[in-house]
Subunit: 140 residues, 2 copies
């Protein structure tokens, strides 16, 4: 797998962790060595591995099942930094109710020589849908 | 000036261009060689130098004067990539009316051997203010 493919693979694993509400997968995906930061939609910044993982734990504790479809995925590799920009289409289900939301995301990964590790996630609510139809990406 | 200081300087120039509604400064700041992308608060993604500059032009055509105060500025350099994460406090003024908004921003710059050039801006509305009081940064 080349660097860009492995970047997309790790990005897909991040959303798999999200769908599965798996804090163990999140622990693997987020960098354990570099400064990490996370901006959840509408939130302020969360900084540091401990606080970032705790924020995901809080999200996972909500009894909401989330299904994410990735649209218009763009990925670029610059040395040891990989940048993925995309649109998340999130289907939230709680009991018999469900709702869809669109989130724009910037995900920044750092390659540690073996794997891409997430160092920054910025998710934000969007009201405007993408005009162009790009590559749709579903990881399972 | 070391790389981190010049990164912060170029980041401040980006906001100066914003405050001055200067498309000429934006043309200087945004990369002319790499793929550029921009997510304005609530918008979908804008891609490519031409479309990105046009989107700023449209914003600047609105008769709104904007003053930006940067808060909790975080900057990291990874080789030729510089990442700046911060909170924008924007004071919008139109005629006698004014309003304040908070925006979380991720700005990614690429060093071209001479200067840092902006390749990605992601701005998103936030409802939660930063809990920690960090370094406040005012560029003029």
């Amino acid at each position: 797998m080349n660097r860009k493919d492995s970047l997309l693979y790790q990005n897909a694993r991040f959303y798999e962790a999200f769908e599965r509400s798996s804090i163990e997968m999140m622990e693997e995906i987020w960098s354990g060595t570099s400064a990490v930061r996370c901006i959840h939609p509408g939130w302020s910044i969360v900084e540091g591995r401990h606080a970032v993982l705790e924020s995901w734990q809080r999200i996972f504790e909500g009894e909401v099942h989330m299904k994410v479809t990735l649209r218009n995925v763009r990925a670029d590799v610059y040395g040891t930094i990989g940048i993925v920009v995309l649109q998340e289409e999130v289907l939230y289900t709680t009991g018999k109710l469900s709702n869809t939301g669109a989130v724009m995301a910037t995900n920044i990964f750092e390659h540690d020589g073996r794997d891409w590790k997430l160092i920054h996630h910025h998710g934000s609510p969007t009201v405007v849908l993408a005009e162009q139809e790009g590559e749709n990406f579903r990881f399972n």
